[in-house]
Amino acid sequence: MKESCTFDKLVELHSAEIFAYVWRLTRDPQDAEDCLQESFARAYKAFGRLNGNANARAWLYRIATNTTFTFLKKRKHENGRIVEMDPDFFSSGDGPAENASRRETFAAVARAVEGLPARQQAALVMRKYQELSYAEIAQTLGCSEDAARANVYQAIKRLRSTLEGHFER
């Protein structure tokens, strides 16, 4: 794929899904745009080293993942901020008590996700929301397919145990 593919074509083919990916990891519009641009800037620099046989999509995810991890570590260090929530998101026909409860649940889930090891969060997003195969996730994270699968399942199990008290079963 790479031999007949220019860098611009790679951008055209994959910028939408890479944006969705970094959006899901950063959960902030400006941060997502910054990570998108930084990821493709790095990809451009490394483009000459991309092997003719390599999976370009997994290669881009790898760069985007590393870029976003670095960014998130820095963000956490700088302001310890978690995701900001859109208050309108929670208004519904229900009364204020229900909305408050919904907001609290959302915050608890967001905190629990932020508390996941970065690789587990990334693996979960890649599998469920970006629909990458375990083989592609393995290439992205630089691990075996078994480890990729384990990262995804462990993410959920961890979220479940962290949030056990929160949801009525």
Partner: protein, 226 residues
């Protein structure tokens, strides 16, 4: 494969798409779907437009007049040389640039000074190889391999299409090599004129003036065409 699914939560596996079953969403998976909702189309479009602008460098061009090849046009981005052409009118050069370049196109003597100087030196015979950064993003991976191999053929030397093909690990691809060389965006600097048929024939040349120019350049370099 199945032994990894048996014994784990089937609904989880179904939610992940690991087994071909529908799943009953639970509170957690519903909250996760909400947390991980993707960007709106409008947000995505804006990000893509900004990405394109961020990645598209400006393109600078200028002309060297009065050379033995006539007017020689050159164009470069911040990444490096993008185009060299001659034997065509300026308007044709500019319109082909516009087709390939997303960023602004600006005439600049300053940004192209080094390129122009080196080309003049080459034509004067005082320079045997070019020392210029090249913008490879305008080429496919295959083109790049072919043109990098051609770059390695020094002044006064020649190679065959077959040799280039073997050099890039694609023996038998001489025809594709010929085509890639024929679409060389920067003749002179990338010396596609130094690549011949295995019988020593010139075969073709994509630069202005065609085969006659190829022959003239080889003679300029002191290559005996017999």
């Amino acid at each position: 494969m199945t032994s990894k699914i048996v014994g784990t939560d089937r609904d989880l596996a179904a939610w992940l798409g690991d087994i071909g079953e529908s799943c009953t969403p639970d509170r957690l998976t519903r909250e996760l779907d909400r947390l991980f909702a993707g960007p709106d189309q409008s947000v995505l479009r804006r990000a893509q437009v900004r990405l394109e602008v961020a990645l598209a460098p400006a393109c600078y061009y200028d002309v060297i007049s009065g050379t033995r090849l006539g007017n020689i046009f050159v164009a470069a981005s911040e990444r490096g040389l993008m185009a060299v052409n001659f034997g065509i009118p300026e308007a044709v050069f500019l319109s082909s640039l516009k087709r390939g370049v997303k960023g602004r196109i600006v005439r600049s003597g300053e940004q192209t000074a080094e390129i122009r100087r080196q080309i003049v030196e080459y034509l004067d015979g005082t320079r045997s190889s070019f020392d210029l950064p090249i913008d490879w993003t305008i080429m496919t991976g295959f083109q790049r391999k072919v043109l990098e191999a051609a770059l390695a053929v020094g002044r006064g030397r020649v190679a065959t299409y077959g040799e280039i093909a073997r050099k890039i690990g694609r023996p038998g691809a001489s025809r594709a090599v010929g085509q890639a060389l024929g679409h060389n965006p920067m003749p002179l600097v990338i010396p596609c004129h130094r690549v011949l048929g295995s019988d020593g024939s010139l075969r073709g040349y994509g630069g202005g003036g065609g085969i006659r120019t190829k022959a003239a350049l080889l003679r300029l370099e002191g290559v005996n065409l017999g």
